[in-house]
Symmetry: C2
Subunit: 309 residues, 2 copies
């Protein structure tokens, strides 16, 4: 336990999250779920766990909550299935693991951690990823586990159209993803991201949450980043790695680099969303260019749970 600046940051998605449309009850539920997840991750760090383990614990907590579009709360694709993506990266070794379009996996972030630890590959998709996980006794769930009345109604509204939606709230966008980044007491960084994709998605679309450099990146030399938003823009801008490059090659601080990537570059490209980041000194940054982002952080200075700007 050398590093006393250890800390963790999480997000539960970003988008058109308006105070005027939120009820007290709904807001309390989100606050409570975020609080539970950040405490799970921070408790791990306090007991000396690695950043990879803390990130995984926090994301598992978010995946198990039906409020967020990941794990149990995943949206329905065009076939009425739940296809999930996740990725994780260890900033100490630059090893990474990712899975995409996996079905019936309780915690896709755990499957991506198995890929990181036990595979020579970085990205596995579909049934192949599930078969790989079964070799390591990954926890599976029946379709019913992922059923949620609200998600089902979202899908029913668009299922016979060509529309796909990152998440549904009338014409408002909520870009559903969960993620976590951490600096552990050993001075190591890690980042992870998990998502249930887009309502009514077709064509085997894979978004940034499964892609190292786009939605997830960690490097002990610079920072750990997890993105949430309109994934295709993050893929084209290679956003997570871009923030690391702006720090390493241009000497920017985490906050300046993150704001440049989101407020300037993502906005100019036409994308919506935000990122969470932590650097090797424990500094954190959470910029987004939309109305709100479910987010929380905890470190030696305390804990905060936030939704709006």
């Amino acid at each position: 336990m050398n590093n006393h600046n250890y800390g963790i940051v999480i997000h539960g998605g970003a988008g058109t999250i308006l105070r005027s449309e939120m009820t007290d009850e709904k807001e309390a539920k989100y606050q409570s779920a975020l609080s539970e997840a950040i405490e799970a991750g921070y408790a791990a760090l306090q007991s000396g766990a690695t950043a990879v383990d803390a990130v995984t614990k926090a994301i598992v907590s978010l995946e198990n909550c039906p409020l967020f579009n990941a794990g149990k709360g995943s949206v329905f694709n065009s076939k009425g299935e739940h296809e999930m993506d996740a990725s994780i990266m260890d900033g100490r070794t630059l090893h990474a693991g990712a899975v995409a379009a996996v079905k019936n996996i309780k915690n896709p972030i755990r499957l991506s951690q198995l890929v990181l630890s036990h595979s020579d590959h970085v990205l596995l998709v579909g049934d192949g990823a599930v078969v790989f996980g079964e070799d390591y006794n990954i926890a599976k769930e029946e379709d019913a586990y992922f059923y949620d009345q609200y998600r089902y109604e979202q899908w029913q509204k668009v299922k016979d159209t060509d529309k796909f939606q990152l998440d549904h709230s009338k014409d408002k966008k909520y870009l559903g993803t969960v993620g976590a980044v951490a600096l552990d007491s050993h001075g190591n960084l890690a980042a992870g991201t998990s998502t249930g994709g887009m309502t009514n998605k077709k064509y085997g679309r894979i978004g940034d949450s499964a892609l190292i450099g786009a939605g997830t990146y960690a490097n002990n030399m610079t920072c750990a980043i997890s993105c949430t938003g309109s994934g295709e823009y993050f893929m084209r801008a290679v956003t997570a790695y871009d923030i690391s490059c702006l720090m390493e090659y241009k000497g920017l601080s985490l906050d300046a680099a993150a704001k440049k990537a989101i407020i300037d570059k993502l906005t100019a490209l036409g994308g919506d969303g935000g990122i969470i980041g932590i650097d090797k000194e424990g500094n954190i940054s959470m910029p987004f260019n939309c109305e709100g982002m479910y987010r929380a952080y905890q470190n030696q200075n305390g804990k905060a749970v936030l939704i709006y700007k």
Copy 2:
């Protein structure tokens, strides 16, 4: 036709390509195939085609040749199938298209170009990508088209083992991929990559060739890059975008940036392979850290076809 520095560079994979193991006849076949592909791309540039079209034409030529591990020459996966990945990026718009684990598509690079032009998504995988292409009458071929006696024997040697190989030549590595980068007469850059994956691959592995930022990247501000080699290392290092960042943020030349990414960083991480790159002035770079890389370029100064160091 403003820009007279237009040019194109292609590769057909890198690895343990030793002069001592090459016959004159085999070498002549590779030279001829590379020559045909570079001429197809350069002729397109001469007639005013966009960089995206020239890159596509050159890669189609390589995909149609059984010598290279892409398209017709794709290796067998663990099920005896041919699963292919490809990606393309337009440096003018930063739009990109990519497909992974697609079967029975004659020219995966054309499918990735359809994703670039006609989809809101960037990356489509498996049957979904094929269904998307069928909407645009993508050319398909039966399994027999992809059958090659040499590839079949490669697979037979390892099929009942857990071994997978990027391409097979005893214990030698040939990292089979094809790619092209171009600067067109309008001053625009583009990059594309295509591969048949690894012999005996399992688990729905996706490599860097399908991933924007890892195996393929283009940006008119900096450069166009296509990678070939041990894909997982390129994914963890986000190699193609790293070269662009080293130019944009650190002010390095294309050649200095490409050498830093391959000779220094990829080698330090333990990866093998190389890249081809062209910048907005038409400068080219083709570094690799292994014995050979099938490669060629053509511009106003002439044409060259190269294999060894």
